[in-house]
């Protein structure tokens, strides 16, 4: 294993210490396991809390800031955070207007966020949750009943975060978050496996000429092992799968993300985006906003995911609203 780390055990706290040093606008608390906007809570505004296993950076810690998350709870690598982390975060950010939990659909995360919601309710904090389950690759997988939550998490956090920032109430913010998830589909392809610091070796074996089609963000198996093909064929296959599961039609507008899984150069992601853009144009679907880069990663995995979200009203205005976080920033 070749990584920049001190010890496998201290990897997460050491990385969070670096995040804290780089971003004085965040309160990184290693004791409670939370990353909170240092100006939290904001009086009278709904607060967003997300979290999950670490190893997917910048998700979620890099999305804490104005217009997006109020707090993130980083679990150990590929391991759900515990309810106490979520409760600490909710307590730190609640201004009385309530807290929205954004939860990726993995069994541990779902159970722990539910328990945290109960604990928060007992303390008088109103909580609602949005479950993200956009990954159309497989039903029921390692760690998951139902579909996995992946790239659309960023879309939910950005768009619901903007709704909270403009002063929507908790029910409305939750509703828009659920609508974003319902309007989004994702699918990922791995060229290589990733290596966690604790395991010290790749999570699965993948021959030099094969790809994992439909891979999960922890390296969970996808739909099939296939031979490596040209990027335009891979992009066409992935879009076919996504659109077969979506009711996007000619004339529709979409927000699209081509997301690197951590080990793939930006030039390859742009190349894939070019193919996706051409293929959607041929179907009469217009990409009105896009992200190309590493946003929801799997440590050092080479590969990419594609997320397509229908740009329903009022998603676009909320997408364009100012955001000021370590990993996503515009309008400020």
């Amino acid at each position: 294993m070749k990584k920049f780390l001190n010890t496998a055990e201290s990897f997460l706290p050491d990385a969070l210490a670096g995040l804290a040093a780089a971003h004085p606008e965040l309160r990184v608390d290693l004791d409670t396991g939370t990353v909170v906007r240092s100006d939290a809570p904001t009086e009278g505004r709904v607060a967003l809390v997300s979290g999950g296993g670490s190893g997917h950076e910048p998700l979620h810690t890099g999305f804490v800031g104005a217009g997006m998350l109020d707090a993130a709870c980083p679990g150990e690598i590929f391991t759900s955070p515990v309810p106490d982390q979520m409760l600490s975060a909710a307590t730190a950010v609640n201004s009385g207007a309530g807290v929205l939990f954004v939860v990726k659909n993995y069994t541990g995360d779902v159970l722990n966020f539910e328990m945290a919601a109960d604990l928060a309710s007992e303390e008088g904090i109103e909580v609602q949750s949005v479950l993200v389950n956009d990954d159309v690759a497989v039903e029921d997988s390692t760690f998951t009943a139902g579909r996995r939550g992946t790239g659309a998490t960023l879309f939910v956090e950005k768009i619901a975060g903007a709704a909270a920032a403009r002063g929507d109430d908790l029910a409305s913010v939750a509703e828009i978050g659920r609508r974003v998830n319902a309007a989004s589909r994702s699918f990922a392809v791995a060229l290589t496996a990733c290596t966690t610091p604790s395991a010290g070796r790749p999570g699965f074996d993948l021959p030099e000429d094969e790809i994992e089609v439909g891979v999960g963000i922890h390296g969970e198996p996808g739909r099939s092992r296939e031979k490596l093909r040209p990027a335009n064929e891979i992009a066409a296959d992935v879009l076919e799968i996504i659109l077969n599961d979506h009711d996007l039609a000619s004339g529709d507008e979409a927000i699209v993300m081509v997301n690197g899984l951590g080990g793939t150069p930006l030039s390859e992601l742009y190349l894939v985006y070019g193919e996706v853009s051409s293929l959607l144009a041929k179907r009469g679907i217009t990409i009105v906003r896009r992200l190309v880069g590493d946003y929801v990663t799997s440590l050092d995995m080479a590969g990419c995911s594609i997320t397509v979200c229908r740009a329903e009203e009022p998603f676009l205005a909320l997408w364009d609203a100012p955001v000021n976080t370590p990993a996503l920033r515009w309008g400020v």
Copy 2:
């Protein structure tokens, strides 16, 4: 070789087509090999042009936009662009106030930018150049006489770009670019080699327990092959080398970049940043601004570089000035 590409031959044009599709605010011209702000030229303002071999994305194409570059000339992977590209770019962006070439110190780039400057002069375009040679690893290397130009290129492009944006004349913009280079030092460590699409295999062999200390951005040899060590020791060694070559002293302020080479997860870069931050604090040096992420890469190479720039007057105000490019954006 596992990459998202159609053919090795079409890799660069396909990636640039994707860039064009993602960024309608850029004019990507495959015929002239240029990426130009679509609102160029800006009347009465000095324009910045940079370029070099591709494979270091987002450098340089991702830094074209308001407050930074007016145009970039992407060469083939790890190959200098040709003088005609630079001349096309200079012609497209010159408003009569002159053009600054930002040139990384590699023999091919230097010769070709010199030839382009001569050609531009013949066409009545006033040109000055800033040579970036911040990499303290080695004197004279593959492709280079003198020191290599690496991470400080971003600093020169950002700070000189802001000087041009506020209306400084050509001599002043060039002068500030040269001062930024003189105030900056960089050093890189590779954990793995990178693979170019045309070669199809890693550029060098590196045993599973060794690192290349002082590696160049094309995988050129560094100072030594060493055993992999804990990140805090690597960071300490790299800073020692950088500061031995710099006159930074206790009480000084610095702008620092911990830059991923393409295949290294963000969490590891933050971990390294945490070590750098602690080590500089112990020397009484205050980091006043920082970047942590992939900015000057080497395709899929795992590794990172550290750049330290003394925050002399007026660098900080120019650093903070608005910038609106695909890869660097704030204040807008």
